[in-house]
Symmetry: C2
């Protein structure tokens, strides 16, 4: 007959045992020096009474809510599950809860989302900012997850190096004419990835960027990207900045009767939920979200613990880290058929193992 009928508190336990609430508190928290026998009795009674500490009482007293905020530009972003899962895990491991705030894709709502979190008394927050947005003037510790190219305090994957790996990999497969597929020219993350890909591809490779937003401005959402034409022009690989776009490329190619990877290779980024499951499975670049989350939450906790020291100064975390990305080779990439033709004027011998 444990618990139920809510509202068991320290006083109730104290009363039941004829001791003081201070002693109960000390025993349960393991801080004050209480005799082992008493601790045992108090624990027992607490559990019999179904005691759950009041987070409000504790928060009011300690000035800490034990809750971290997670601000997202748009929960609908396909990368969000990975981020949320990693942050939640890191927070729980550190004994914190996670309050979410979604800006629903509207840039203006980001500030609202942050304010909402402040009002709920979060001890700190992780912000995944809207493209190009700067976070400032927030009255609590903040860790930003973005591209390292973004000035400010950031924990991020090394998108540029990830791109470089993709580029080198495609080059090693013999690709010499590659279409880069991006969505939005303003995205730091996308620009980093694309820059890296170009770099990895090297000087001898022709790279051309297709901006989806630009194409859609003419043909409406979901219109054709004209990929078959690219293949006809001799392009043999498509490197997208996200698996979502890679999937779009893959299916448009397949629909046009172009075989992947035999006639064209496709790569993406982020290892989204569907990437391993499509046919052929997508070669992609994965971030170590667990590590990113640990860094972000760790920086937050340090800032929170340090906040008490120098008066009431609240410092934004300043842990600029670059987390490496990992290439995941799957079926959507292969050696180009054009190897034979192009081999003579390249160093393909060295590049293709």
């Amino acid at each position: 007959m444990a618990s139920s009928r809510l509202a068991t508190n320290l006083s109730a336990i104290a009363a039941a045992l004829g001791v003081s609430v201070a002693t109960v508190s000390n025993a349960l928290s393991g801080k004050g020096r209480v005799s082992p026998e008493l601790v045992e009795r108090i624990r027992k009674t607490a559990s019999e009474l179904g005691y759950v500490p009041s987070s409000a009482g504790r928060a009011l007293r300690t000035g800490r809510s034990g809750v971290l905020g997670l601000v997202l530009p748009d929960i609908a972003n396909p990368l969000f599950p990975q981020i949320a899962q990693a942050i939640e895990k890191a927070a729980v491991n550190a004994g914190y809860g996670v309050l979410i705030a979604d800006a629903r894709g509207e840039i203006a709502m980001q500030t609202d989302a942050i304010d909402r979190l402040i009002e709920r008394g979060v001890d700190g927050m992780v912000v995944v900012p809207r493209r190009g947005t700067r976070i400032s003037g927030v009255d609590c510790p903040v860790a930003v997850i973005d591209s390292p190219s973004t000035p400010g305090n950031t924990v991020a994957a090394d998108h540029w190096d990830g791109g470089r790996q993709v580029g080198e990999y495609l080059a090693s497969l013999g690709h010499r004419k590659v279409v880069l597929v991006g969505k939005n020219r303003d995205s730091n993350v996308q620009n980093d990835r694309l820059g890296g890909i170009r770099d990895g591809l090297g000087k001898t490779c022709l790279a051309q960027t297709l901006w989806i937003d630009g194409i859609e401005k003419g043909g409406g959402a979901g219109c054709r990207l004209g990929l078959a034409e690219k293949v006809a022009e001799g392009f043999t690989a498509f490197a997208a900045v996200s698996d979502l776009h890679a999937l779009r490329v893959l299916t448009e190619l397949q629909r046009a009767g172009i075989e992947v990877p035999e006639e064209a290779s496709v790569t993406g980024f982020d290892d989204l939920i569907f990437s391993a499951v499509v046919t052929p499975p997508l070669t992609t670049m994965r971030m170590d979200m667990g590590r990113i989350a640990d860094l972000a939450v760790g920086a937050l906790l340090r800032a929170i613990d340090g906040a008490g020291e120098n008066g009431a100064a609240v410092d934004v975390t300043a842990d600029v880290s670059k987390v490496p990305m990992a290439l995941i080779m799957r079926g959507s990439t292969g050696k180009t058929k054009h190897d034979a033709i192009e081999a003579k004027n390249t160093t393909a011998g060295e590049l293709t193992p």
Copy 2:
């Protein structure tokens, strides 16, 4: 020079104006009767001082945290973004925050996740349960989002009727041999959808179910489903219980050189993020997540407000609602080529407009 240097509270405002905290509280909350002029002065000072009410103080006093919990079986579930976004929106509209708790796919962790939320003092929680799990004994109002077939207190989409719509639609296109694609035999949601599809297809149609988990047990994750063989056997449509599986079907068919929708139609469920963007775009069945979330949160709020009445009794919400689903017709479905052949022994004339 507003705000900063945290820690402005009611006392500070009261002191600055030479009034009592009670008056400040009343003025700011608009409850007590305070003269309009004073209200105005108090508001002004509060905003100048950058006053943010202490949620802890309020929670401790009122016994309400103003926070709702969202328990998820696995954030990695592709449907999660829609759920989270809808719940967050509904909660924010009602003035609540949302604390997330992820069971990371482990059935045992669901209880931990719930406990974590209780310890954080949520006023109620929305639970998306793991397959077949029953939620019970939780000491706060709970709204469950699942299939209506699950006994208990549930807000759900009408999965069965959604399936029926898919079935009828495929039948109306002339399909007479349809492969149903499910993942897990134990899922109420999947069984409802499949049952509905069979029902909508009608007696004259041959329907056969492919269970992905069963197939993968033999061939490992991501192995082929043998769809080309099904097409060879005369099946002309594939109806999956999720867009994720529909995507798998679509790409496997395309990879096998089978044209969609000319040679085979494909349908899914849930209108996932990628569904509109692939080629051909997926015909799918969408739930009204906004409505589901509103119902769930609404039920929760009613339970929360009612909790004070009958002693301390905490009642689980009992709002069993069926929210209709909407068919979204896109390019992955079309009339079957076999119409001509099969027309003689069916009522295809009536069914195809």
